[in-house]
Every structure is written in C-alpha cells, then in structure tokens.
Amino acid sequence: MLVRRLIPLFAAALTVFGQARTQADLDSFEKVWTTIRDKHWQVKPGGLDWQAIHDEYRPRVEKASSHDEARAVIQEMIGRLKQSHFAIIPAVVYTVLDDEVESGSGTTGIDLRVLGGHAVVTSLDPGSPAAQLGVQPGWQIERASGRDLEAVIDQARANPAVHELQLTRAVLARLSGPIGGKLEAAFLDGTNKTVNLTLDLTAPRGTASAFGNLPEQHVWFESKRTGSIAYVRFNLFLDLPRVMASFQQTVENCKTCDGLIIDLRGNPGGIGGMAMGMAGFLVDKPNQRLGTMYLRDSTLNFVVNPRAKVFTGPVAILVDGCSASTSEIFAGGLKDLGRARVFGTHTAAAALPSAFERLPNGDGFQYAVANYISEGGQPLEGLGVTPDEVVELTRPALLAGHDPVVDAALDWIRRQKKP
C-alpha cells in the first residue's frame, strides 16, 4: 500500500521536475529572444522578422524532450542572425571553468598561456613569489591546488565556444586565491624535472584602479629600451590619467628611437576611447580613424587626433589570443592605416561590448550590442586581428630566454632603419 502511494508521488515529482526543466528552457529562450530584440544594433536583427522567428522557434523549444535539444533549438535560432558573438555556452562548460576555484585576487605573479595543450609560464611579475622561488618562463605547470591543469584544459578545449581568453583566465584562476594564502603547485622545469613549490599569494602587480561600477583592478605600465628601440606594455586600458600620461611620456622620450614596440599580449581592453587617444601620438595625418562602431541609434567614429608631437618611426604591435576589445581596436586600426605592423597570434575577436549572461536554465548567453568595422572594412567582432607576421610562443624558446614575438618585432624594426 505504501509503495503504491509512493509511486504516484514519485511520478508527480518527476512531472514537476520535467515542467521545471521545460519552463527554464522556455524562460531562457524568451531571455535570448528578447535580449536580441531589444539590444541588437539593428532594429531588424540580421535583417530578419524577429517576431516571426519567435513564433517559429518557441513551439520547438516547448516540444524539446531534453535540455540539450532545447539548447540546440535556441542555438539554431541565433544562428539565423549569421553574426558572430552570439552563442549559447552550455552550463557544463561553466562547471569546468569555475569548479573548485577559490575566489580571491591573490596571485603568484605567473602569467601563462596554453601551448600545445599545456599551461606554460610565459612571464613573471618582477619580484613576485614565483619569481623569487626561481620559476622561469617556459616551465610547464602540471598541478595547482591539487588539480591537474591538463584535465581542466582538455575539458574546456573540448567545447568550441571556449576561446583562448576564457581558457587562459580559467587556468590562471587556479593559480589565484585569497591574498596572504598559499598555493601548492607542481611544475616541469627546463629539464622536465618535477618541481613542487609552495607559493605565496600576494596582491596583483600594479596600482589598484577603479572605474565607475567596474570592480577595482590593478593596472601596471612598463617601458624599457632595447638599444634604440622603445618597448611598452600595459595590462589594461584603464587608469586612464596615469596610463595615458605614461604612454605620452614614452613616446615623447622616443623622438630619436629607431622604433616603438607596443605589447598588447594578454591585454583584454578597457576604455575604448584610449585607443583613439594613444593613436594620436603615432598618427601624424589628420582626419584618420581606427574604425567605426555601429549602435542601434548612432554611429561612432573612432577618430584619431594627431598630437602636436607625433612619433613617426616604425611601430610594432604585439598581440595574441588574449588581446581583446580595445587592444583589437587599437591594433586593427593602426594596421589598417598602415601605421603599425602587427606580430603574434590571432586576437580574441571580441572587440565589442559583447556581454555574457547566465540564462534561467544555467547556460550562458553571449551577445553583441554593436558592430565594429575596422578602417580596413573588416569587422573585428568574431574575426579579430590577423597579425602581419604570425609568430607563436614556444616552450623551447621561452626556456632559452627568448620571446620569439618580441624578437620578430625587433628584427623588423632594425630592417626599417634607414642606412
């Protein structure tokens, strides 16, 4: 008797669960459809009758027998736009990316890239805990806080929606934690010998900088000389007054330089206008622009105002898959204007203020609210900047103390020097 009563209850529970799944998928569908209707830069998104699209796809989501099937229908719907940077990221990807990551801004001072499926140290913050313990560029990071990083990388790379910037951030997150904490990590050194280290977690490099509602971020700017070639690198287009002033000072001190290298690898962007402002120190010709951004009700020209003192020598810009947004606008625009030669690997193709939101069913939704066309006529969103010279980092080169991308830029600048 008890069993007989439990069965209907169990069935009822299943029914409720099923309805909850369907409702979450329907809510997610409505969220995606409404967001595109309200925020797409075209009143008729993709030139489509968006209401008709709704009426066509909603019944299919209602009939979907599983979460995966519902997601596929929503994916198909946004695929009708035939535009980049509209994507559904399965909830499981977030699980892989976020799982067991202890929050905190404490860092070991390691920067890394995923090279050949492995997390490889590419640079170290000066004086950082990792640098003090002798970690070197080129070392491979095997484990962090008990997690096998290769497994994390494999899982994330299995999904094409995860791009290099996301992947790198996810791996870096496993090398972070609360400031003052400690992190156990296992490396392969230059001889492939395992090195186990306990690393302190310290405040990130740079100066804490706030910009409105954005969370406070640490911003650093460095400049140096290699012979008569100047090199600048900064991690974000933020802390505007300080970074712009530092950039200006670098350029003005470079009047007689043979060339200037601007390293935007790992720079995810920031304030878009800074790309225009910095370009003004490098472009002498009036009435130039880096590109054009198309919003729903206006068009914004990314203009360049030539400064009174402009550096007119060769400019090399270094990029990689973690160069995004303002970095891409800057690099792509100066490349299109013929003012800079770009070295490195393809950029993140995330030039726009595209947003990520979590949907009611747990999936992620990426959408763009504008279209940006670089001065060369090519949209950066979804395509990114293709370097003039594709140069990839390799572990052997890093272990040998070389940065092949910097080396390529130096060689090019030296070749430009007039006899």
Binding site: S209, A210, F211, G212, N213, L214, L240, P241, M244, A245, I271, G273, M274, M276, G277, G280, L295, D297, S298, T299, L300, N301, F302, V303, N305, R307, A308, K309
Partner: protein
C-alpha cells in the same frame, strides 16, 4: 559637451515680448522664445550679466562615474569649461578669438572646424539668450506636445549653419523643459535629448539646476550648484592651453581654425 547643455538651453531664448498666450491660434515661435527670456529674468537681467562662473556636478549613473564641472563665460563670446572626473581625468573646451577647441586626457587636444566649430561658437555666445534672432534665422512653432502631463509648445530653431534644435516650452510656465537636436561631433552625428528641470534663481536669472542629457546610449545628469555673477575672470582663463596652441601653430589651415 557639458557646456552644450546649458548653452543650448540658454540659446533658445529671446527678449522683449511679455504676452501670455490665449487659447487659439498657436502663438508664434518668436513670442514663445521671447516669453522664455521674460519668465527666466527678463532682457535687462541677461544684459546685466557680463561674466559668470558656474559650478556644478556631473553624474553618469549607469557607469557609476561622478565629477565636477566649472564653466567660465564672458561677453561677448568667450567661454571655457572644465569637467574633472577622477577615473577619466580632465576634459576642457572653450572658444576664444573665434577658435573653438577641446582637450582631454583621453582624446588629446583638438581644434574644431566646420559645422562643429560654428555650433561651438554659437554656444559660446554669452548673449545667446537675448540674441536668438541673430543665431537662429528661422524659428517656427511646430505644435503642441504633452510632456509629463504638461502641454508644451514645440519650437524648431534653425541656425545658419548646423542642425536644427527643437525646444519644448511649457504652455503654462513658459519654461523650456526639453530640447532635442543632433549634435555634430568628430565621433559622428549624435542624437541628443536634454531634459531640464528644477529651475532656480541664480543671480536674477532662472536656470535649470538639473539637466539630464541622453546622447546615444549614454545618459548623464548635470546639477548646477551655484553661479558667480559678474566676477572678474582673468584673460588667461580663456587662453588656449599650450597643447591646443601648439596644434594651432602646427595647423597649416589656419583659415579654418580661425
């Protein structure tokens, strides 16, 4: 851009007529603009003002950014304003000797030209309120619209050079409560909507203490806190900053800059 807000508002006024409208027919645009001058202080009050320094704040609520604004103006056509926002730095603009310029930490110095220069010079005219007939050769009453439950006359003002400006004047109070135009800027033509409210007496002239400006996807609020009336403003205040002067000197096309 911040200067534009107040200047555009002030520029939509006129002098003289004190009529109060009847029911029909629609009053002329001229009488509406003249009434605005009258209800905000009168021609004499405007003409007594030879210089001013206005102090206020700017607030971009969506971005979480706030700053301060100071505007200097002197008859007949000198102005200088500066906006300081910690996260962005200083933004300044001005008109002096018919050179319209702007300078910011983000975009650098620039000398305006063409329509943009014409608009800046028009906005820099301190007597714009009472000189609207010179600034806007064509004005017309385009009808009545209700804004926030109040009937407003819709007046379209067309300058000799630049985009028309549409001002909305409350039928009951004569005050301007809204303004729309398309601003010419180097970034492109940007639709502007300006909402004016909280009119207060600043040294004998009513000015909107609160102005909300919607420009494309951006919206900010400017609050006017106090106005110094007829202060002595050193000439150096209106002088071109060194970076702008260097550009002017560098520019071959000085005829355009002038």
């Amino acid at each position: 851009m911040n200067r534009r807000i107040l200047i555009l508002l002030l520029a939509c006024a006129g002098a003289g007529v004190t009529s109060v409208y009847g029911a029909d027919p629609l009053p002329s645009a001229e009488s509406i603009l003249d009434r605005y001058v009258q209800v905000t202080g009168g021609k004499q009050a405007y003409e007594k003002r030879k210089s001013e320094i206005a102090h206020g704040t700017v607030d971009f609520p969506a971005l979480g950014i706030k700053g301060t604004m100071t505007r200097y103006a002197a008859q007949p056509d000198k102005y200088y304003y500066t906006v300081d926002i910690a996260a962005i730095g200083k933004m300044e603009a001005g008109v002096n000797d018919s050179i319209a310029w702007e300078n910011s930490a983000i975009l650098g110095p620039r000398v305006k030209s063409g329509v943009e220069r014409a608009e800046a010079i028009r906005e820099g005219n301190m007597n714009a309120t009472v000189n609207w007939r010179k600034l806007y050769p064509k004005v017309e009453n385009a009808g009545i619209e209700t804004i926030d439950g109040q009937e407003c006359f819709k007046v379209v003002m067309t300058p000799a050079e630049g985009q028309p400006i549409t001002g909305y004047y409350q039928k009951k109070s004569g005050l301007q409560v809204k303004l729309t135009t398309v601003a010419t800027s180097q970034l492109g033509d940007i639709p502007l909507e300006i909402i004016a409210s909280d009119y207060k007496d600043f040294g004998g002239i009513l000015e909107p203490a609160k102005v909300i400006q919607k420009a494309g996807t951006q919206e900010f609020t400017m609050t006017l806190e106090r106005v110094e009336v007829n202060p002595a403003i050193p000439a150096a205040t209106f002088a071109l900053p060194a970076e702008v002067r260097a550009l002017v000197d560098k520019t071959v096309d000085k005829g355009e800059a002038k």
